[in-house]
C-alpha cells in the first residue's frame, strides 16, 4: 500500500482523538483520547520509517510509547489524587488554575 494510505489513517485517528479531547468531560476518557493522538503519531512515524528505510522512525515511535506510558502514569496518579479528595471527576469543574 502506498504510504499515503497509512498517513491518512493516522490523520483520521489523530483528529478523532482531538475531537474526543474537546468533547468528553471525564478526565479518564480525555486521557484515553490523548493516547489515540499519540498512537496516530506513532503510526505516521513508523510509516515514514518504512518509506525511507530508516529505523530512526521506529526508535522514535518506541520513545513516544515510553513517554505515553509516563504521561498516563502521572495523569492517572493525578486523577486518583483528585478522587481521594472527593472532588468531582469532571474536567469542567476543575478550573481553578485560571486568571
Amino acid at each position: 500500500m502506498a504510504i499515503g494510505w497509512y498517513l491518512t489513517v493516522s490523520a483520521l485517528i489523530f483528529c478523532i482523538g482531538a475531537s474526543g479531547v474537546l468533547t468528553r468531560r471525564n478526565p479518564l476518557v480525555v486521557l484515553l483520547c490523548l493516547e489515540l493522538m499519540l498512537n496516530a503519531a506513532n503510526l505516521a512515524l513508523v510509516a515514514f520509517a518504512r518509506m525511507w528505510g530508516n529505523e530512526a522512525g521506529q526508535i522514535f515511535a518506541l520513545i513516544v510509547m515510553v513517554v505515553a506510558a509516563c504521561e498516563v502514569t502521572v495523569g492517572l496518579g493525578l486523577i486518583v489524587a483528585i478522587y481521594r479528595r472527593n472532588l468531582p471527576i469532571d474536567v469542567d469543574e476543575l478550573h481553578e488554575l485560571n486568571g
Binding site: 474537546l22 474536567v91 469542567d92
Partner: protein, 670 residues
C-alpha cells in the same frame, strides 16, 4: 596692575567671602561670619580704589578697557564671554557699591548679632554684593543679565530672610515675580538689539549702533522700551513698584543696602550704560523720563501718609530713584550718577538710623506709637537729621547739590523736560514734607513709654515677640528675628558706620559744585564722549538759580511739616478727617496693588485653575492617561477571558491554532 586685574579682584573677594561663609556655616560661631563678610567687602573696596587709581593713571581716551576670562558660548553667532568692562561708569559704581556695602556689613555685624541665622545672612549679603558688582562690571549683555538675575535672587533670599514670617515670604515672592517681569524685558531687549547688531558686547554694540539703526527706528525703540521695563522693575518705578514697600519685611540693613543704595539703582545704571541706544531712540528716553517723573510724584504723595517708618523711607527711595531715572533718560548722566552716590549715602544712613529707633521700640515700626526719642537716642537723632536734611536738599548737604544737578539739567533742556523739571521741584517740596513729618513725629513731642524707659537707661523689650505688620505672635528662634534689639548708642560698629555715612552725606556733594569743581563729571566724561546730550550742560548761572530754588521749596515742605506736627498738635488728624477720601486713596497706595491684582494676578490665577481643572484633570488625567489605562485594562480583561481554567477550551485553542498554522502552510506551499 592693570585696571582689569583690579576689576577681577573686586569680584573675587565677595565670591570668596560668600563661599567661605556659606560652606563654613557649622564652624563659624558668634559674629565671626560678620567680620569675614565685612572684611571681604572691604578688600573689594580696596580693589575698587586700586582700579580707580590705575584707571586715572591712563589717558582719558584709553579708559575703556575690557578683559575676558573665557568664552561662554561662541556658536550660532553669539559671542558671549565672561568679560568685564572697566571704564569710568563701572569704576564709579563699584566704588559706591563696595564702599556703602562695607559700611552696611559693619552695621549688620551688631544688628544681627543675636539672630540665629546670622551666618546665612552674611553669606546671602556677600552673594548679593558679588552679584551687584558683576552687574555693574559686566562687559556684555549676557553677564549683565546674569548679574541682574542673581541680584533678584539675592533680594528674594534676603527679603524673606525671616522665613517663618508669612508676610516676609509673601513679600519675597512678590518682589521676585515682579523682578522676573523685568528680567523678561531685559532679555527680550537684548534679543532685539542682538538681532540687528549681531553682537552682545557693549563696546562693539555702541560702535555699530549708528550704522545699524537710524534715529527712532521701531526696532530700537522697542528694544529700549523693553530695557526700560527691566529698569522699572528693578528700580521700583510705576507700575512695577509694588514690591518695594513690601520688601521692607527684610532686616533693616538689607533694606538699606539692597533697597536703597544698590539694587534699586541698577535700573539707573542700565540706562546710563546703554545711553547710546537711548540717545538714538528719543521716544524711549522720553517714556523713561515721564515714568520717572510720575513715580517721584506718586511715591512722594504716598510717603506723606504712611505710618510705618521703614515704608516712608521706602517710598522716599522710590521717589529719589524717579529723579535718577528721569535724569538718566533725559541725558543728565553724570548728574544721575552723582545723585545715585549721594542718595546711597543719606538713604543708607536713614535706614540705619531707622533700624536703631526700631530697636528702641522693641521691633515696633509704627510712627503712630513712636514719639519724643530726642533725648533718649541723641546719636540716632543727629543721624536722622543729617540724612533728612540731605534728602530734602538743604544746603550745604550733598543732596542739595546732586538733586539740583538733575533738575537744573532738565530745565535747561527745555520743552517736555522743563515740565518734568517742574515735577521735580514739586517733588522737592513733597520730599521735605514727608521727611520731616517722619522726623518730627518720631523724635519730637512727649516721649512715648519706650523712650521714657530708654531715658532711664533701660532698653524696652516686648514681652511677646510680634510681627510688626500684622501683630501675629512669633518666637525668636531661627527664621524669626533674634531676641535682642540693638540701638546705635550702644553698639560701636553701628556708630562707626553711621558716622562715616553722615560725614559723607554732609561733604559728599562738595566734589561737584557748579562753577567750582566737577570731579565727577570730569571723571565720567570719557564714557560719554560720543554723547550729544551729555555735552549740553546748563551754565553756572542757571545752575546756581536752580540751587537756590530747590532748597526754598524743601524748606517750605519742612515748615508745613513743622506746622502740622509740632506747632499745632492734632492738626494732622483734623486734616486727615477733612480730606478723608484723598487720605484713603493715598494710604491705599493709589490702589496699584488692587489694580495689578485685578488685571494680572486674578486672570493668571483663573487661567491656572481652569487649566488645572480642565486640561490637567480631564484632558490629560482622565483623557490621555485615563484613556491609556482604560484601554490597557479593557484589553487585559478581554485577554484574561481566555484564561478560563477549562481544560477543554485550552485544548480547543491549541487545535484551532494548529489548524490555522497548517492552513497557512498549505496555502503558502501551493
Amino acid at each position: 596692575m592693570s585696571p582689569t586685574t583690579f576689576g577681577w579682584l573686586v569680584l573675587l573677594f565677595p565670591l570668596l567671602g560668600c563661599i567661605v561663609i556659606g560652606l563654613g556655616f557649622k564652624q563659624l560661631k558668634g559674629r565671626s561670619s560678620g567680620w569675614i563678610g565685612t572684611g571681604a567687602i572691604a578688600l573689594s573696596f580696596a580693589a575698587s580704589l586700586g582700579a580707580l587709581f590705575s584707571l586715572l593713571g591712563r589717558t582719558p581716551a584709553h579708559r575703556e578697557i575690557t578683559s575676558t576670562l573665557w568664552s561662554y558660548a561662541s556658536s550660532v553667532g553669539v559671542d558671549a564671554k565672561l568679560q568685564i568692562l572697566v571704564d569710568p561708569i563701572s569704576v564709579f559704581m563699584i566704588l559706591v557699591v563696595s564702599g556703602v556695602s562695607t559700611l552696611i556689613h559693619l552695621y549688620s555685624v551688631s544688628y544681627m548679632k543675636s539672630d540665629r541665622g546670622i551666618v546665612r545672612y552674611f553669606a546671602y549679603l556677600n552673594f548679593f554684593v558679588l552679584s551687584m558688582l558683576v552687574l555693574v562690571l559686566a562687559g556684555n549683555f549676557v553677564l549683565l543679565i546674569v548679574g541682574w538675575a542673581f541680584v533678584g535672587a539675592a533680594s528674594y533670599l534676603l527679603i524673606s530672610f525671616w522665613y517663618r514670617r508669612s508676610t516676609a515670604t509673601r513679600a519675597g515672592i512678590k518682589a521676585f515675580v515682579i523682578n522676573v517681569v523685568g528680567d523678561v524685558g531685559l532679555v527680550l531687549g537684548t534679543f532685539f538689539i542682538f538681532r540687528d547688531t549681531h553682537t552682545v558686547q557693549f563696546l562693539a554694540t555702541f560702535k555699530d549702533i549708528h550704522h545699524v539703526y537710524h534715529k527712532d527706528s521701531t526696532d530700537l525703540v522697542a528694544g529700549c522700551v523693553l530695557f526700560l521695563v527691566g529698569a522699572f522693575a528693578k528700580s521700583a518705578q510705576v507700575p512695577l513698584h509694588t514690591w518695594l514697600p513690601d520688601a521692607m519685611e527684610g532686616p533693616t540693613p538689607v533694606s538699606s543696602l539692597i533697597h536703597a543704595a544698590t539694587m534699586v539703582t541698577a535700573g539707573v545704571y542700565l540706562i546710563v550704560r546703554l545711553h547710546p541706544l537711548f540717545e538714538l531712540a528719543p521716544t524711549a528716553a522720553d517714556v523713561g523720563a515721564i515714568v520717572g517723573c510720575l513715580t517721584l510724584l506718586i511715591a512722594g504723595s504716598i510717603g506723606v501718609v504712611v505710618t510705618d517708618i521703614k515704608r516712608v523711607i521706602a517710598y522716599s527711595t522710590m521717589s529719589q530713584i524717579g529723579y535718577m531715572i528721569m535724569g538718566a533718560s533725559a541725558g543728565a548722566y553724570s548728574a544721575a550718577l552723582f545723585h545715585l552716590m549721594t542718595h546711597a549715602f543719606f538713604k543708607a544712613l536713614l535706614f540705619m538710623a531707622a533700624g536703631s529707633i526700631i530697636g528702641a521700640m522693641a521691633g515696633d515700626q509704627s510712627l503712630d506709637r513712636m514719639r519724643g526719642f530726642r533725648k533718649a537716642l541723641p546719636f540716632t537723632f543727629i543721624c536722622f537729621l543729617v540724612g533728612g536734611l540731605a534728602l530734602s536738599g538743604m544746603p550745604p548737604f550733598s543732596g542739595w547739590l546732586s538733586k539740583d544737578d538733575i533738575i537744573g539739567y532738565l530745565s535747561h533742556r527745555g520743552g517736555l523736560f522743563f515740565v518734568l523739571a517742574i515735577g521735580g521741584w514739586i517733588g522737592a517740596f513733597i520730599t521735605g514734607l514727608y521727611t520731616f513729618r517722619m522726623i518730627f513725629r518720631a523724635f519730637f513731642g512727649d516721649p512715648c513709654p519706650e523712650a521714657q524707659e530708654l531715658e532711664h537707661g533701660h532698653l524696652a523689650h516686648a514681652e511677646v515677640p510680634r510681627n510688626p505688620m500684622n501683630g501675629e505672635v512669633e518666637d525668636t528662634d531661627v527664621g524669626f528675628p533674634g531676641p535682642e534689639h540693638v540701638i546705635a548708642e550702644r553698639e560701636w560698629p553701628m556708630r562707626i558706620a553711621m558716622s562715616i555715612l553722615a560725614l559723607l552725606a554732609v561733604v559728599g556733594g562738595f566734589i561737584e559744585i557748579p562753577g567750582v569743581d566737577h570731579v565727577i563729571s570730569t571723571f565720567l566724561a570719557p564714557s560719554f564722549v560720543g554723547s550729544k546730550l551729555a555735552a549740553e550742560q546748563p551754565s553756572t548761572k542757571d545752575a546756581w538759580i536752580g540751587l537756590i530754588i530747590t532748597p526754598i521749596l524743601g524748606l517750605a515742605g519742612i515748615t508745613i511739616a513743622y506746622r502740622y506736627y509740632i506747632a499745632r498738635v492734632g492738626a494732622s488728624t483734623k486734616l486727615q478727617e477733612r480730606f478723608a477720601p484723598l487720605h484713603n486713596f493715598l494710604v491705599n497706595k493709589w490702589y496699584f496693588d488692587e489694580l495689578i491684582d485685578l488685571v494680572v494676578v486674578r486672570p493668571a490665577l483663573m487661567a491656572g485653575q481652569l487649566t488645572e481643572s480642565v486640561l490637567e484633570r480631564v484632558v490629560i488625567g482622565e483623557g490621555v492617561t485615563g484613556g491609556v489605562v482604560g484601554a490597557v485594562r479593557a484589553g487585559s480583561a478581554a485577554v484574561r477571558r481566555a484564561q478560563t481554567g477549562f481544560l477543554r477550551y485550552y485544548a480547543a485553542a491549541i487545535i484551532l491554532g494548529l489548524s490555522c498554522v497548517a492552513l497557512y502552510f498549505l496555502i503558502s506551499s501551493t
